[in-house]
Subunit: 156 residues, 2 copies
Amino acid sequence: MAEKALDETDRRIIAILQVEGRLAIQELAARCGLSPSPCLRRVRALEAAGIITGYAAVIDQARVGLPVSVFASVKLERQREDALDRFEASVARWPEVVDCYLMTGQRDYLLRIVVRDIEAYERFLKDKLTRLDSVASIESSFALGQVKRSSALPIA
Amino acid sequence: MAEKALDETDRRIIAILQVEGRLAIQELAARCGLSPSPCLRRVRALEAAGIITGYAAVIDQARVGLPVSVFASVKLERQREDALDRFEASVARWPEVVDCYLMTGQRDYLLRIVVRDIEAYERFLKDKLTRLDSVASIESSFALGQVKRSSALPIA
DNA sequence: GTTGAAACCTTAACATA
DNA sequence: TATGTTAAGGTTTCAAC
């Protein structure tokens, strides 16, 4: 989790690539006032440092038949000491779970689950989430729509 | 929000590009059992159809000095009819708000706000969110860490 | 879906500050 | 430590089939 010193140019590169991840290095270089070589070297360095962890096509959930996001707030039982690791391993394995955050307040996780419809969510609950015996409680909230999903962190 | 008919190859392309968004078309084509031309045409068609909405470098929040995610559950006042639009417009403008979902149960939004530290969050609350007079209540939950943030929807 | 050719991009070596 | 220039090799793109 170390934080590396980033200069203006690095931040510029990140800001641009967060929004235009497939931009050619030449064009990226031009927009940063660099020639392509140092620009490419910086991008590779950012990748190597684990700051840029990858590149992703951004997909419209609804248009691929997955309009429903469900937020599940999950509380784990206090008794089981290895429960957190096992819970996290399961979550990592389940493709429906798109985001998972460990929250303050002891054993709480917030998940975002992406599914085709409510029925698919019920199946996910029944076949997967409630099967973990470390789970003490689950509270589900349904999203009607995505108002904003930014690929850009507020770097600047 | 129309859903277009996607064949196996389209889904394959999406699945790959969600994880390797900068993959060369040649390589993508090879993995889909296509030659580059039709593969590129399909990618362009997915972009034109609004299924692929863009490409993004995936950034490690913590390593760029933004370790804190806050989930804010916001309830709007019932009286103001134009409140939703104005709220959504504000949210779109604020870079700290990275995700925003409209939730079931009348006037509820769930926001994810990304900041440097708790102080920055307090500043966001004080200077921005609580300034909107349509906001009836805000409940904040803090994330200690990201267990999973997948760039891949469960397409398959 | 295929081929092929032109245009364009990436990248490493080496020079420079 | 950082960038700039060059040139070879690879990739993208599009028209014609």
